[in-house]
Symmetry: none
Subunit: 206 residues, 4 copies
Amino acid sequence: MHISKTSIEQIRRRELIDAAYLTFLEHGLKGMTMARIGERAGMSHGIVNYYFTRKDALVSAVVRKATFLISQDTARRLRQAKSPRGRVSAIIASNFASDLFTLDTARAWVSYYAAIGQHPEFERLQNAVDRRLESNLRHALRQLTSDRRAAEIAEGIALYIDGLWLRRGRTKDGASSSTAIAKLEAFVDDQLASGHRKGTVAGLPG
Amino acid sequence: MHISKTSIEQIRRRELIDAAYLTFLEHGLKGMTMARIGERAGMSHGIVNYYFTRKDALVSAVVRKATFLISQDTARRLRQAKSPRGRVSAIIASNFASDLFTLDTARAWVSYYAAIGQHPEFERLQNAVDRRLESNLRHALRQLTSDRRAAEIAEGIALYIDGLWLRRGRTKDGASSSTAIAKLEAFVDDQLASGHRKGTVAGLPG
Amino acid sequence: MHISKTSIEQIRRRELIDAAYLTFLEHGLKGMTMARIGERAGMSHGIVNYYFTRKDALVSAVVRKATFLISQDTARRLRQAKSPRGRVSAIIASNFASDLFTLDTARAWVSYYAAIGQHPEFERLQNAVDRRLESNLRHALRQLTSDRRAAEIAEGIALYIDGLWLRRGRTKDGASSSTAIAKLEAFVDDQLASGHRKGTVAGLPG
Amino acid sequence: MHISKTSIEQIRRRELIDAAYLTFLEHGLKGMTMARIGERAGMSHGIVNYYFTRKDALVSAVVRKATFLISQDTARRLRQAKSPRGRVSAIIASNFASDLFTLDTARAWVSYYAAIGQHPEFERLQNAVDRRLESNLRHALRQLTSDRRAAEIAEGIALYIDGLWLRRGRTKDGASSSTAIAKLEAFVDDQLASGHRKGTVAGLPG
DNA sequence: CATGAATGAGAGTTCATTCAT
DNA sequence: GATGAATGAACTCTCATTCAT
């Protein structure tokens, strides 16, 4: 592991990631310039490059931090969950923390998604994040339905989450955290109760 | 005389929009520079500015072109639809044209969504596009369920569409057009069949 | 002479000069673009270049028009003047027409003065204008004082006029036409009454 | 340490201001491009923007430098002045330093005056400069005449100074520094001796 | 370790001018 | 005569990145 790293390096990196994270949420990826990060961290922008050779590395670190926060929150909520269905709700809720499901934050994330195409590293990272979410959901759902259905619903939830975030960043007066959660919960309820209808696709023209 | 004057302007504008559109799909919004557009159109970059005073104007034109293509496709499919349910499918299908629901195209659109936050004009435009989609869906759904439920399902479909596109841009081997459509159709079927489970909604399909 | 020029050419040139003149007064020299002139004249901007090969030529024409208008006004006022002193006042007044001694117009002229340095043609033109003004003033003043003193006062008046215009363009709530004229008239009275004191320069340090 | 940090910034800023100042005097405001300034300072044009975020800021700095030089000269001359009248002469002389009252310099200043209209910041700056000059003059003149008359004469001097500089920039073989000063001194003498005639405006036509 | 000085590539935009039609 | 299509030079400004100290 990297436990042996100089502690000051660890500290600096963490400070910079924190500063970058806040800058990212506030200004989006484009507005997250090295200069602004340095300023926010109270350090020179030169040092930002010293610890993160490329800007990409810092962005990845920021994304890892964000997903770590969410996964921590997920874990906490899972521990408090009192039923299989409650475990699904726990995962959902942790993806819509009320202080994060805001216009600015949503926009910031969309700007990050936009960068994925040009940065293979981001792509790998995001794939891992996506897989973990679906994996968590599948695990929770398996106690409520068939494995196959669990996978389908998990994917549906993930898509719905994406849609809600994308919309949030587009609309000034978008849905609140609780509204978003309510919609997803209803979606889950529907899906869990309708497994048998799966595959009934209406005829399409063309 | 006058015809040829306006004609060439029309032609050039169209050529430039086409060139911009292709550049956009290939490089995303950030990579859609005036220079590249001009190069692709076989013109100087000066002329791009001659026809589109601001880059934003060109971007808007590109978006309008894209949505126009979709709306045309929607209209065509709607004419061929043979049942109320088929009308919903028509709208869905036109949002997943198989030649457009690709990795690059999806990425390009996400990069456009990311720019909405910084360009009020894009925001207005996108709001109009969003409203039209939901309006179309609501109209079609009203023949299948209550007005209130129709609105809810319409919103759900729109979110699901967003989620699918966002995912498409993130994943190299993402869902194909037909897979995406199948998922949405199943979603619609579920939603139409589950109105009574919706918490406070009283209306039943009739 | 050039009397034989096609009349349509004469007309067009005049229309363009008029349009350029108005554009100049409104937007200054920098804002007097070929495109704006053409638009104002209701013609294409291509034709502007056809009649005035270089922009400089058009600027010169504009300046000539402006000085012609002033000289006409001067002539008119001189005819109405009833005394030698009145002739001086006539010349002064024609340099501060109330509809021209405004912030925008003054700024426009200053922007023209700024261009003189880079355009020898403007320099020649302006020298002629300057000479004519001083010549007019000298002639009028000679009936009131010695030739030598007349030349001195004429130069002083010219400088004072320049100063007033330059100031006008600098100050949002600058002097009105009548205020400016009053100041100059007082200046002239002082000068006419104080010829004997000329040359009494106070001791300077260094 | 900290000294050297700020020191180099101070040095570079000063170097750039100097380079900009010289470029300004030589090419006027329009010709004072970031590229030329950088070239003259022996640096990349990027660094110019590093130290002066906006070009306007650099222009302001240049103007402040110039007015600072003048005000220093004014102070020096005022200390050496041996009479109230001499104080007025001191102020006048510092506005016509012989190495600055040249064609190019005058042209540069006129180009700056032309920019005032489009840059509110320049306008504010220039207003301050104007006010200071008049204030200095008023103070000096109050020991020689009434307060009211002092204000009038101060304004007259300021206008005359403007006129002389504007003319200097227009005329290749314009007045020398000493000639300009002599004219102004005569003007002041006249004005000081003729307070009682103030307001005697001759009848104007129209 | 840390700074911030310095570079240079690249973006959008403006506009006089040329020229085919 | 007249149009406006087309060019290309020039400008300001932004930023990731490099590097001497």
